[in-house]
């Protein structure tokens, strides 16, 4: 869907993007990762021609972008930035309606679309009448995403869109956005310098350094075969643990063993009977959380419970500490 072919872009003598090539398939989510100043934003802006490459070419949907008028190209590409850039003099409705209006949609269709988008990004419909000044950071960024998606663009570019939000809101929006992207099947190029964010979003990771691609692949590849010392250093010593956060415990669930059913009493009755109580985790938890619960509970087995507290099964330390199902052999 997006092909970046041998693109170079310099500012003065410094090359911000250096002979970079990258293919992003239809419906894929590609995360550009790297330290600040490595050329992520520049790469992104070369796609919608906010910047023009010095050499090389960019194709979107098979079309060479340099043959299209920039404003027509951009109406087909959503763009979300950290500072959001909502138009302060327009209501939320009119902000979201920007691209449909530019495309000349009829009024009724725009109204329907705005209502649909507000629901899509999880805002109640009365937000349509609000002004950007009246929104919290998280609400404003939801509107920013809705505005970018308004004309149902096949491609979405996002430059650290959640970077300015508080940690709780940030994680919530990351998770919601990842689900939204899967549902809509939009091709997304997402820029971030935050490894955790890249992992929560999933998709292909592209680690950049000095305007070039240092490594590209699945998050697991970065752990198993880091391309250089720089990769390991950038991902950090806890990267392995971070990776576990991508896997839900339900994938590793085992039936309750005889041994642990003795521990499946709740902590109140355990305290009374003097028996051991196993740590409990929710069925929505991930492997990292499972490990955390085991460490906190001082046991190598944890019980997985549903919403009502009923025990569904158990998970062992060995199960929880493996990245891949195929990797189980390696663990045992």
């Amino acid at each position: 869907m997006i092909s970046i072919r041998n693109v170079t872009k310099s500012f003065g003598t410094a090359k911000a993007v250096d002979d970079l090539s990258l293919e992003i398939g239809q419906g894929e989510l590609c995360v550009l990762l790297g330290p600040s100043g490595c050329g992520k934003s520049t790469t992104l802006r070369l796609v919608n021609r906010l910047l023009e490459p010095d050499s090389g070419s960019v194709l979107v949907g098979g079309e060479n972008t340099s043959f299209l008028p920039p404003h027509e190209l951009r109406r087909r590409i959503g763009y979300v930035i950290q500072s959001i850039g909502l138009f302060p003099h327009l209501s939320v409705h009119d902000n979201i309606a920007t691209v449909p209006r530019l495309l000349g949609w009829p009024r009724a269709r725009i109204g329907e679309r705005v209502a649909e988008l507000l629901a899509l990004v999880g805002l109640p419909d009365y937000f349509a009448k609000r002004w950007p000044r009246q929104l919290s950071g998280g609400e404003a960024q939801r509107v920013g995403v809705a505005r970018a998606l308004a004309a149902d663009p096949p491609v979405l570019l996002m430059d650290e869109p959640f970077g300015a939000l508080d940690p709780l809101t940030r994680v919530r929006l990351q998770v919601e956005f990842a689900a939204l992207q899967k549902r809509l099947g939009t091709t997304v190029l997402f820029v971030t310098h935050d490894v955790g964010e890249a992992l929560r979003l999933g998709g292909t990771m592209v680690l950049m350094r000095g305007g070039q691609i240092e490594q590209l692949g699945r998050p697991e590849d970065f752990a198993h075969q880091p391309a250089s010392a720089f990769v390991s250093e950038f991902l950090g010593p806890e990267y392995g643990l971070e990776l576990l956060g991508r896997y839900p415990v339900m994938e590793r669930l085992r039936p309750l063993s005889a041994l642990s059913s003795r521990g499946a009493v709740d902590s109140a009755s355990a305290a009374q009977s003097g028996e051991l109580s196993l740590p409990r985790i929710a069925s929505t938890a991930n492997l990292k959380e499972a490990l955390s619960a085991m460490v906190a509970g001082g046991n190598l087995v944890a019980l997985v419970c549903d919403d009502s507290g009923a025990v569904l099964g158990e998970i062992s330390f060995e199960d929880a500490a493996c990245l891949d199902k195929e990797g189980e052999q390696r663990c045992v």
Binding site: L50, R75, I81, G85, P88, L102
Partner: protein, 408 residues
């Protein structure tokens, strides 16, 4: 004297009330002269007004004087900056308006009595001193009542005076006699004045817009444009008028066609040119500042949504710059209305002509007939455009009040 601990004097309000009371009791309200040449006799409110009126005024003044009540008890005094209650402010505004109407009504009525006996009644120092006192009372109340109610106070003040004027209640005052004697030339002067100020501001707006766009495009251009405009702004108004006379006369002499078109050393043309040059800086400066005030991320978002340069300008930059642009027009127009008085010195007409004629003839009423409308026009232009700028900026201004539904 110790009043109840719950009552305390408000420094602003009591200053206004004291000034008003002092003005009407110790200074003459009117000055009477058998004719324009002879010197006058002073008319004091305390001497001429009926005793019931004086008693009422005294009571109103006393109550106003003491009317700022403190919230909190004697044991737990409220902080100094306690906001007085709404009812008190409305009472204060009402009393101020009554004082204003009363002052004009009494002056007009006393003048009518004197004029019937065959004299001339002009407003005295007591009247002119009482006005700022009442202004302080009203301004204090209007300012604290908030935007809408405050505007209503000024609207009521203006409406009352206009009604009194239209109803003839003030027509025995010498200024208004002067007015009815010169009605036609007054109206012509007023029209000229509005044209001088309005047309020069309009010209400055069109030119300023182009200059601001040029200045935005390049930094060296900006420096040149603003250097020239700053210089024009620094030259004193009268000097600029004087400096314009010579080159314009020479031009007119050499090219009679230009002279026929109205371009001469004296008359309205040099006045309009001077006013135009003065108006240029605030207008162009504010347009540029307005366009520059648009956040870079907003501009980037607009471009990334697929707006063309023209669309970005018309749909994003211009609407966001509008409050500041109106602010520039406000400064320029208010200033032009005042400066247009000087056109009267070089044969450019306008209300200044009346003022300078009055000065030459030592006729204070004629001076007032020119000066009062200029002051009223300048005040009105300033207030109305100020309101417009605030209205346009209501959604984006930092001081904007949150008016949406409660956050769910």
């Amino acid at each position: 004297m110790k009043l109840s601990a719950r009552w305390q004097l408000d420094p602003v309000l009591s200053t206004g009330v004291l000034l008003t009371i002092l003005a009407v009791s110790a200074f003459p309200l009117l000055s009477l002269r058998p004719n324009r040449m002879l010197s006058g006799r002073a008319v004091y409110l305390a001497v001429e007004a009926p005793p019931w009126l004086l008693t009422m005024l005294a009571i109103a003044g006393a109550v106003l004087f003491l009317s700022r009540r403190r919230t909190g008890s004697a044991y737990f005094p409220a902080p100094v900056a306690v906001r007085p209650g709404h009812a008190q402010l409305i009472w204060q505004a009402g009393a101020g308006l009554l004082l204003l109407y009363g002052l004009f009504a009494v002056a007009g009525g006393l003048a009518a009595i004197q004029v019937a006996e065959g004299g001339r009644a002009s407003l005295g120092s007591g009247f002119w001193l009482a006005l700022p006192g009442i202004y302080v009372i009203l301004h204090d109340a209007a300012g604290r009542l908030g935007r809408r109610r405050g505007f209503l106070v000024w609207l009521l003040a203006a409406a009352g005076l206009v009604l009194m004027l239209a109803g003839g209640g003030l027509s025995s005052l010498s200024v208004l006699i002067e007015f009815s004697n010169r009605r036609d030339s007054f109206i012509a002067s007023l029209a000229e004045h509005l044209f001088l100020a309005g047309f020069s501001t309009l010209l400055a707006f069109v030119t300023g817009f182009v200059l601001a766009l040029l200045a935005r495009a390049g930094t060296w251009l900006e420096r040149i444009i603003f250097a020239v405009m700053n210089t024009a702004q620094t030259i004193p108004t009268l000097s600029l008028l004087g400096l314009l006379i010579l080159p314009l006369s020479l031009l007119a002499e050499r090219y009679p066609a230009l002279a026929a078109a109205g371009l001469r050393g004296i008359g309205p043309t040099p006045a309009i040119i001077a006013l135009f040059l003065y108006a240029l800086l605030p207008i162009a400066g504010n347009i540029l500042a307005g366009l520059r005030s648009v956040d870079a991320s907003v501009r980037e978002a607009a471009a990334a949504m697929g707006m063309t340069a023209t669309q970005i300008f018309l749909r994003v930059e211009l609407p966001l710059a509008l409050p500041l642009i109106v602010g520039g027009v406000r400064t320029a127009l208010t200033q032009s209305i005042g400066n247009a008085i000087l056109a009267g010195l070089i044969g450019g007409g306008g209300l200044g002509a009346l003022i300078f004629l009055g000065l030459a003839q030592a006729a204070p009423d004629l001076v007032l007939l020119g000066a009062l409308p200029v002051a009223a026009l300048a005040l009105a232009a300033d207030r109305l455009l100020g309101l417009l700028a605030r209205y346009l900026g209501r959604r984006t201004a930092d001081s904007g009040v949150y008016q949406g539904a409660a956050i769910a």
